[in-house]
Amino acid sequence: MVKSLSFAGLIAAGLVAAAPLSAHAEGKSLTMCWAAWDPANALVELDKDFTKATGIEMKHEFVPWTSYADHFINLLNSRSAECDLIIGDSQWIGGAAENKWYVKLNDFFEKNKISMDSFLPATVVGYAEWPKDTPNYWGLPAMADAVGWTYRKDWFAKPDLRAEFKAKYNRELEPPKTWDELIEVSKFFTGKEIDGKKVYGSYIFTERGSEGITMGVTNAMYNYGFDYMDAKKPYHMEGIVNSAGAAKGMDVYKELFDCCQPKGLTNAYMQEGLDAFKSGEVAMQMNWYAFFPGLAKDPQVGGDKIGFFKNPAGPTGQFTQLGGQGLSVVAASKDVDDALLYVKWFAQADVQQKWTDLGGASASKAVLMSDAYKKSAPYAPSFVESMGMVKDFWAEPLYVPLLLDMQNRVHDYVVANKGTSQQALDALVKDWKKVFKQEGKDPS
């Protein structure tokens, strides 16, 4: 009740704040493009407020993740006006900026007093800036996301399992804090019969075709010393990408795959992980935080049965893979002004709050760093911490070949047992050098 009252208050406040926006004529419409998943439904709800405030109808084009990048990158590249606004993946930003697919937003932000300081720094770098770490903005952080973990809290609480674990490892059975612990706990659960079913320790990403295994393995590799390039020498990768630490991180991921991944999940990504967890097949699951609101409410495994933890640490640090997207205005749109009006509306503090309340994930500091948010859901505290330790994949214009090269090399080693991790990373450096040379950048 309190929540619904506050919703009503927020809507009212939103309408008041948006009063100057409502001067726009009716009969206009904007098309918002994004991926088809749970948060997109929340956006449809949210956008009703925009229509109320401005009279501009919102249409939505949501495409499944499997064809999301192909579909929209083709549209952008062909200068199609099908989308007026797009919530585009963080990796697209380089290509979108250099090829002028998006409208540059610096002047607009300045004119409308939209400050990037009000968003989490990692999301600004990830979803808005190109070149990275420069104040050139091509998007507004829209959907904050990162890789996190879920675990079966009810299984971890079983006295017999806790006693057995303590006897074996001389510590309590708790959510793992390091990758070593993660492997230990995963091995402990693998093969156990729980609730009449033989279970596996953990689920990790292994998908080969698009981005899955890369978005998974980096969570181990970052924490063992992997980076994309020498911070002092841009695009220099030798000894960084294929460092001994990076290879060790890859070995750790492979060990987890070999010991504890359910059989058959050798080409599996988000949905397969959700299925494995919901069906009680795994004790722990790697997945994107964007799915956690749904899991927390799941009738089978949600509520008291589920717990959440951030990506475990490694010997060189604790990082996690950045996900999420920024909101951008498509340069080829015939309604750029209205689209900018939407960005202005979306950036408002109360809209950001409602966006999160509906099931989206605002990147606004005011929303995420508030005590109310941290107490709002069981996954919220670890999500906030995770957003402070994210790293992202390349966002170069040629990010697709870079990504697919990594997909191949990692899958070949982790799933298909081809060669060693060091050989895989050496080959990856060779592949990436070739791509950068093609892009006219010096990788030497």
């Binding site: 192909d70 090829n99 058959g264 097949e281 697709v400 070949p401 191949n408 298909a416």
Partner: protein, 319 residues
């Protein structure tokens, strides 16, 4: 007075003129022009759909063009060809493709011929079983791919339960499409399941074309069934079998949809056929120039092999 005398003479100038062809009467075009008129649409379509893209692809294969980026073509000579032919991974993919094509054909021919011999007999329920055997090839590869993915799922798929029932292995203890050693055989198995009926049909046509009197003569000579098979059936069906091999070799070489749905080329690259590599280069990495060069190499390989094979087939036919 002869009968001729009774014929009334025609008006002057009309008796010597033969009736003009109907087309010429309608359009005033020459025979040659009419021929061109009829074949021109086909020629145009052939040029537009086959020849022009081929020439365009050859041109692109000498460039670093990327279709998803607004950049000029950028002529790079034979770099793409050198890259492909010196890339160990591509050679591995060719080996994977060769394994797939070879075993698919061997199994399809053996099983297809056996089924054709069976169906060629008269027995009760003949039509029903013929229809059942033909069903797989009538399905869409997309349906077959998804259907077998479910069947082969280790936790819930019946295939593992079936194998487990006979071997005693726990159904979820092994995975067909996720195993490095089993996945290459799994794609062979599914493709064989789908396309063996096609080979069977061709073999059946061959069997039905053998005149009955040859077998009757063999019977008179007291030739055993095995002898009849080796000396009559097999030689006379061989041209049909060779035709089936040609069709299926080309079909298997360009196989994409079924394997992509089953394994996406994985685990690792163990089932990555060259057609999947080509698709990934062309439509995922958007390396259009590189993909064009690979397509040209594939075209030359298939075209060359098919030509040699057709010559061989003609020789067999003459014998």
């Amino acid at each position: 007075m002869s009968g001729m005398d009774t014929i009334t003479p025609l008006a002057p100038g009309t008796s010597t003129r033969s009736p003009p062809p109907r087309v010429r009467r309608i359009s005033g075009l020459s025979d040659r022009a009419v021929v061109w008129l009829f074949i021109a649409p086909t020629m145009f379509l052939l040029l537009a759909i086959n020849i022009f893209p081929l020439i365009w692809a050859i041109r692109l294969s000498f460039t670093g063009f990327m279709a998803n980026l607004p950049r000029p073509l950028g002529f790079i000579g034979i770099d793409n060809y050198v890259d492909i032919l010196t890339d160990e991974d591509i050679w591995t993919n060719f080996q994977v493709t060769a394994h797939f094509v070879f075993w698919t054909i061997v199994l399809q021919v053996l099983i297809g011929l056996a089924l054709a011999l069976l169906i060629n007999q008269k027995f009760r329920g003949h039509s029903f079983w013929t229809t059942v055997i033909l069903l797989p090839m009538m399905l869409s590869p997309a349906v077959v791919g998804n259907f077998w993915t479910l069947l082969l799922q280790p936790q819930i798929g019946p295939f593992n339960y079936f194998i487990g029932f006979f071997t005693g292995a726990a159904p979820s203890s092994f995975t067909m499409i996720g195993s490095v050693s089993l996945a290459p055989w799994t794609i062979v198995m599914v493709n064989t399941w789908m396309w063996t009926p096609y080979v069977m049909l061709i073999c059946l046509a061959g069997l039905r074309s053998i005149p009955e009197y040859i077998y009757e003569a063999a019977e008179v000579d007291r030739a055993s069934s095995l002898r009849q098979f080796w000396s009559i059936t097999l030689p006379m069906v061989t041209p049909f079998l060779m035709l089936a091999v040609l069709f299926q070799a080309i079909q298997s070489f360009e196989m994409f949809d079924l394997v992509n749905l089953l394994t996406s080329g994985g685990p690792g690259s163990t089932t990555e056929l060259v057609s999947i590599t080509l698709k990934r280069a062309a439509f995922e990495k958007w390396q259009t120039g590189y993909a064009s060069a690979l397509a040209v190499i594939l075209f030359v390989t298939v075209f060359g092999a098919a030509n040699i094979y057709v010559k061989l087939l003609n020789k067999v036919k003459q014998q």
